[in-house]
């Protein structure tokens, strides 16, 4: 993280918030509470001038430091060569800055006018105008952040949430210093009008504060969801942890605000006979404390903006367990126990809440509630907790491609075969000598484990070292390749009953690969997205009549959205350039036909067949292998009508996203 950029951002947020907060305070709080006080108004204008200057200076620093990051060149060069100008003129950030610079120029005019005019109406107009300008400038910062890059409806929600978050921060945080000034002035003035003004201002500010806090919580929740998205990302990434720290500071601010509202503000009331000065002093102190907490929050905000959001970082899970609902779907008795104990714990909570707020039977309610909550509450947690590892919530960054699977297969053959066996059934030669039987890597359970836990076991071993760890043997990338291979093979075993009939059953994901026609190159995924793909592996001369048949059907199939991709099963690197009619014959890596034999087993226990016979796959829009045909299979794709019927069934399937190499969890 770049300390100077963090500081520039934090100062910029603080000054922009202060500027907007001052005029929100002037318009909504000071005007109704203490209209006749000129001294406070002058002080606020002085702070506004300082804030505006800080906005401009920190904004310029921010822009220059961004230019350093964007261009990857040192600051001196960035300033000399006019790279800052390029950023200012030609990037999104720069355009937002142009807009805000315009607002700042108008604010200068507004401030000059606002400090000269004497009539109350003119002052009001100046304050309102300045509020509008500074609020627009504050909200516009949202267009430079993470939210600006999101697209579609999500993007608009995120952007609106960001802008509202900034404005609410301006209204509350930016009003704290003005509030402290009013309280200080009221203490000095010492008279009924001053006391009345302090009371009104504090009460009005507390209403504005509640509205702001509610807005901050809702919009902050929306943003946290968009940028971290999960509990593991919150607990396990730098971004998430900074966010939690920010929340903790925010909670402290709310705590102070709650004391102000429930305990101190009523003591300022003219109806209250106690000394108002001590209450005002405490309120003033709390306002400063809150403002300081706010400054720390803004420092964290400065860091957050320069930290990759939790969503993009592999989270390091900090706990030795995680909660899993997997057991619930299998065991109804367990489910009932979880529900019953959770209910008891909830009743305990209600009793505690009653005890806190009620006037009678307080101690009993709290005791019974605590007993219930603690006695029953641990049970659902215990029932649902499963062992977790630091990498439990890692997600594979390596897509399911032919080259990744082929690399994983090589690693498997070199490293895993001895124990897990050539076919992965846990029946390798060394298996019998082991105290714990090696796992069957083709069984369904393989899809029940999160990717991150397979990752951990491969790298760090399991069963007390019976399975050794291979962290020293291969790197992260190789580990994911191996996981891709294990998933692909298990999905193939599970799909061993695939037939020439398209079904809606969970289907394996087709490993992606790139290929080239004479007309140009593309990838399987790309082609599938356009409708469907008929993937053909052929052998010559046996497949010649079939290729001629497909060449004749080609136009008609294309009309149904089907792309034909034919590859030689033995030598996919060589096309059939000399045969113009066969322009759907492509060239690709030699590993493609081999990897696709993973999906050609004739039954769960049958061996993986060699890659040397004619076969075809129908692949749907999302990239699932939905049907497989070999000459002679029924329904026979040898007839166009049969093939077209399968294609229309393919189009009618409900959309299903790819999960775990094609295995779907319920």
């Amino acid at each position: 993280m770049d300390a100077s950029l963090i500081l520039a951002r934090a100062v910029h947020f603080a000054s922009a918030i202060s500027l907007a907060g001052i005029f929100a305070f002037a318009v909504f709080i000071l005007r109704p509470a203490w209209p006749q006080d000129e001294i406070i108004r002058r002080r606020l204008l002085a702070i506004a001038w300082a804030s505006l200057a800080a906005v401009l200076l920190s904004g310029a620093a921010w822009l220059a430091l961004e230019a350093v990051q964007m261009s990857g060149r040192p600051l001196g060069e960035v300033l000399d060569r006019g790279i800052v100008g390029t950023v200012f003129e030609r990037t999104r950030l720069g355009r937002v800055w142009q807009f805000r610079l315009g607002l700042a120029a108008l604010s200068v005019i507004g401030l000059v006018a606002g400090s000269r005019v004497r009539s109350r109406a003119a002052q009001d107009l100046a304050d309102r105008t300045l509020l509008l300008l500074s609020a627009l400038s504050l909200a516009a910062i949202a267009w430079t952040g993470h939210a600006a890059a999101a697209s579609g409806a999500d993007g608009r929600v995120e952007l609106a949430a960001d802008a509202a978050h900034l404005l609410a921060a301006g209204a509350w945080l930016g009003g704290l210093v003005p509030l402290a000034l009013v309280l200080a002035a009221a203490r000095r003035a010492d008279g009924l009008p001053a006391a009345q003004a302090a009371f009104t201002a504090t009460r009005r500010f507390s209403i504005l504060g509640i509205a702001s806090v509610a807005t901050l919580l809702v919009t902050g929740g929306v943003n946290a969801w968009f940028l971290t998205g999960s509990v593991p990302a919150l607990l396990g990434t730098l971004y998430g942890r900074l966010l939690l720290l920010k929340l903790a500071l925010f909670a402290a601010m709310i705590g102070l605000a709650a004391i102000n509202r429930t305990r101190l503000t009523p003591r300022l009331s003219p109806a209250d006979v106690n000394d108002k000065r001590s209450a005002a002093r405490e309120l003033q102190r709390n306002a400063w404390l809150e403002a300081m907490l706010g400054v720390f929050i803004l420092l964290i905000v400065g860091m957050l903006g320069t930290t990759p959001p939790g969503l993009h970082v592999q989270p390091t899970w900090p706990l030795p367990f995680r909660l899993s609902l997997d057991a619930l779907s299998d065991l109804p008795a367990l489910r009932n126990e979880v529900i019953a104990t959770a209910l008891l714990a909830a009743i305990g909570l209600v009793a505690i809440a009653y005890g806190v707020f009620a006037r009678r039977h307080r101690r009993w309610a709290i005791l019974v509630g605590l007993a219930l909550f603690l006695g029953a509450g641990w049970r659902p947690l215990e029932l649902l907790a499963v062992t977790a590892y630091p990498t439990s919530f890692y997600q594979s960054p390596v897509p399911l491609t032919v080259s990744s699977i082929a690399e994983g297969a090589r690693l498997y053959a070199a490293t895993c075969v001895a124990c897990h066996g050539a076919d992965g059934r846990g029946d390798g030669e060394a298996a019998r000598t082991l105290p714990v039987a090696p796992a069957d890597l083709t069984a369904e359970h393989i899809f029940g484990h999160p990717d991150g836990e397979l990752f951990w076991w491969i790298r760090h071993g399991m069963d007390g070292g019976v399975m050794p760890g291979f962290a020293g043997g291969f790197d992260d990338r190789a580990t994911w390749d191996l996981i891709n291979f294990i998933h692909a093979r298990a999905a193939g075993v599970e799909a061993s009953d695939m037939s020439a009939e398209v079904t809606g059953f969970p289907s394996p994901a087709a490993p992606d690969f790139s290929f080239a026609f004479a007309a140009g190159s593309s990838t399987l995924r790309e082609q599938a997205r356009r409708g469907a793909v008929l993937l053909i592996f052929f052998t010559l001369p046996q497949s010649e009549p079939r290729l001629e048949q497909l060449a004749r059907w080609r136009q008609q199939l294309a009309g149904n959205g089907v792309t034909l991709i034919a590859l030689s099963a033995k030598d996919p690197g060589r096309g059939l350039d000399d045969r113009e009619a066969f322009d759907f014959v492509a060239t690709a890596d030699k590993e493609v036909p081999e990897v696709y034999t993973l999906y050609e087993r004739q039954g769960r226990l049958a061996p993986q067949p060699p890659a040397a016979s004619h076969r075809e796959f129908l692949i749907d829009r999302e990239g699932h292998l939905r049907a497989r045909w070999r000459p002679g299979d029924q329904p026979d794709w040898d007839e166009l009508a049969n093939l077209e019927r399968q294609v229309s069934r393919l189009a009618a399937l409900p959309s299903a996203p790819i999960v775990h190499a094609g295995h779907v969890h319920y």
């Binding site: 430079t144 890059a149 509990v231 690197g573």
Partner: protein, 121 residues
């Protein structure tokens, strides 16, 4: 209470977050990452997960010896700001490396590289 709330929230949240992307990552490319092409391509096209800043997004293509084989600067497509194109000189059979460095419109920088091969081994 917080633990219970967490326990209830955890499976829900773990199910999936909306796909917000705040950095531009390479989505896919033609020629594909690690692909083998029978014929030399005329351009390299890179699709990213986010819109790019044209002024600061670049890519170059080099051969095994490190010599530049791109024939001009990389340009962001006018219609589709997630697409970056690099024109190529005529390529002879061999392995080539595409090196990209892009800035997304929320001003974050990412970089990366991949290789592709022209002709058989």
């Amino acid at each position: 209470m917080r633990v219970t709330a967490l326990a209830l929230l955890l499976p829900i949240l773990a199910l999936g977050a909306p796909a917000a992307l705040a950095h531009a990552f390479l989505d896919h490319a033609t020629p594909g990452v690690g692909s083998v092409l029978p014929r030399a391509p005329a351009t390299v096209s890179l699709w990213f997960t986010q819109e790019l800043e044209p002024a600061f997004s670049t890519a170059e293509v080099v051969d095994r010896a490190g010599g530049r084989v791109d024939s001009g600067p990389a340009e962001v497509d006018r219609q589709d700001a997630t697409l970056l194109r690099v024109p190529l000189k005529p390529l002879s059979p061999g392995t080539y490396k595409v090196i990209w460095r892009v800035v997304s419109i929320d001003s974050h920088t990412t970089d990366g590289s991949f290789t592709f091969r022209v002709g058989s081994e």
